[in-house]
């Protein structure tokens, strides 16, 4: 690697970077070919390929005929293209139809479970973000005795991993008679999140007080200031926490496994796992499984298309706090 160290570039770069963005890597991106950079690009290419290929394989398999998969397992395109696998997992195919395409007897009413997941993920995320937001406001903006003590006591929860609280929480939910209810599924995580409160409080501390104080002097109530001034200003971190919370809840497996055994409340992750386990070992319905997988992953992929950049920034941001 030669180091051209062009002074001209070194001088102009900060000026250009200031307007463009600070994201720009320091190294000159238009540097000429070098073996090291070629290797680096090749490495990135492999990473992208390995990351994306399974997603492509889900697509390719889910549009295939499960019987025909055996005939041409290495085909890069769907084998004997059909929507049969989707019809099976959506409960639209008759038993005769699904057997004809290599489906097993096992079926999955996937829309029903997706709806359960949606209720679970939306409610638990919405509630915990809201309750964290108002608590964070009390810790960042209100003046009251014991504030710092209460805050540090709440933060100790960050150190306790799920493994310690999950079993006792199951016993608690069972004692409350909330097994197999959305309340039991949602409640333990809906009221309190140490990370959310900490994250939002830090953000609020960095906001200017002036607008809020002006509103207070004009006679606005504290609650009005909270909802009409502070809340809109925190929409960035609130979105961040909502997205991360929604992804986490949608993908959660262990807690729903503990508290739900009834299909009426079971989320999609569990239904998918049951579907996989009930698929015959000798000749699994891979096309059906991949179709179900695709439906389970689809909301996250759509979320990604809509908020891709925001998700990337959120994750980086949450890591730095």
């Amino acid at each position: 690697m030669s180091a051209p160290a062009s002074p001209a570039r070194a001088v102009t770069r900060p000026a250009a970077g200031a307007t463009a963005r600070t994201l720009r890597p320091p190294s000159p991106t238009r540097r000429r070919f070098s073996v090291g950079r070629a290797f680096a690009w090749a490495y990135l290419g492999v990473i992208v390929l390995v990351t994306l290929f399974p997603f492509y394989w889900i697509l390719r398999t889910s549009f295939s005929n499960n019987y025909a998969l055996i005939t041409d397992p290495s085909s890069l395109l769907p084998v004997d293209f059909t929507l049969g696998a989707f019809r099976r997992v959506l409960g639209l195919a008759t038993p005769a139809e699904s057997l004809a395409e290599g489906g097993s007897g096992a079926s999955i009413n996937i829309l029903h479970f997706a709806l359960n997941s949606l209720v679970f993920a939306t409610l638990s995320t919405g509630l915990v973000v809201f309750f964290s937001l108002i608590a964070a406001y009390a810790f960042a903006r209100l003046q009251w005795r014991g504030r710092d003590l209460v805050f540090s006591v709440l933060l100790t929860a960050l150190m306790v991993p799920g493994i310690l609280t999950l079993l006792p929480n199951f016993v608690l939910v069972k004692d409350l008679g909330l097994l197999n209810t959305f309340a039991g599924l949602i409640l333990p995580g809906a009221l309190f999140s140490a990370f959310n409160i900490f994250f939002l409080r830090q953000f609020m501390l960095g906001l200017s007080h002036e607008i809020e104080e002006a509103a207070l002097i004009d006679g606005a109530s504290r609650l009005r200031v909270l909802f009409q001034i502070t809340l809109p200003m925190t929409s960035g971190p609130v979105t961040t926490l909502s997205i991360l919370g929604f992804i986490g809840a949608w993908n959660d497996y262990f807690w729903p496994l503990l508290v739900t055994s009834d299909d009426s409340v079971r989320p999609l992750t569990l239904a998918l796992a049951v579907f996989k386990q009930s698929s015959p070992q000798s000749a699994p319905d891979w096309a059906g499984l991949m179709a179900a997988t695709l439906v389970a992953a689809l909301p996250m992929l759509l979320l990604f298309l809509a908020f891709g950049r925001r998700i990337v920034d959120s994750i980086g941001f949450s890591g730095l706090k």
Binding site: P26, I134, P168, L191, A273
Partner: protein, 319 residues
Amino acid sequence: MAISTTTPARERRATRRPRDTATTRHAGSPAHRGDARLAWVLISPAVVGFLVFAAYPTLRGIYLSFTNFRVLTPPEWTGLENLRRLVGDTTFWSSLGVTVYFVVLSVVIGMLLSVTTAVVLHRLTASTMLRGIIILPFLISGVVAATTWSWMLDAQLGIVNIAIRALGLDPVFFLGSSRWAIPTIALISVWKGMGYNAIIVFAGLQTISPSIYEAGRIDGANEVQMFRRLTLPLLRPVLAMVLVLTVIGSFQVFDIVAVATQGGPARASNVLQLYIYDKAFGQFEFGYAATMSLALFAMLIAITFLQMRLLRADESDTD
């Protein structure tokens, strides 16, 4: 009446004021009258959630680990009996061994790949799309990842084994053999989590001032030297955090294993969390399961503490 009851309270607060100086400077000013009551209203959901679903279960979990508790009958105190049993429980120790094997593999490979990826991305391109692509696996559940890889790694029809056969090699029973089950699960876990960690490391890299690299280049340092002498030391806090979180998360691996192998074959991938789950919900030995949870928690604290110590000790070799 109202005045006579509020005034003493305000006076009392005023006398306490010097104790929490800076933060409560405005206490008692008109703008903050009634703050305390509103504050308790606003934090009450969080406080209830903390007490009922975090503090109480933690204490109850510790209590239950000293009891014989089978859910349907009340717990009965057995003192150190569970702990004695734990020491002699060969399945527990083999599960711990399996878990540690998994943690070492997934953390070492995962950290190497995510740091390399972050550095390469940072040096080559600011493309948000590339960063978006590499976090895609983080967005899907462990169940989806495990199902997809089970299919791709299938011994007969899986595309990976077809490729291996095309190279003239023998197919590998990835998830079906005792030897490969844990390494395979570790790779699935790395595939799922690598991008997420890479993005956090990448964000850490962005906080390093470009002028440091310019200076390094002027001094004639090459990329490898700059990575070792500048990037690594400056990135240490972020790397420490990612490492600690990855270790803690890996010790609690569950969903990928539950879906891909269910602990098999012959308990070769029976990780601790799976064993704890089976004891609690398969055999209703909640007391003993709580003991194992507590043991795992104690180990996690010890490991985290050790990591913090070791990583801080590194601070001196930045020269």
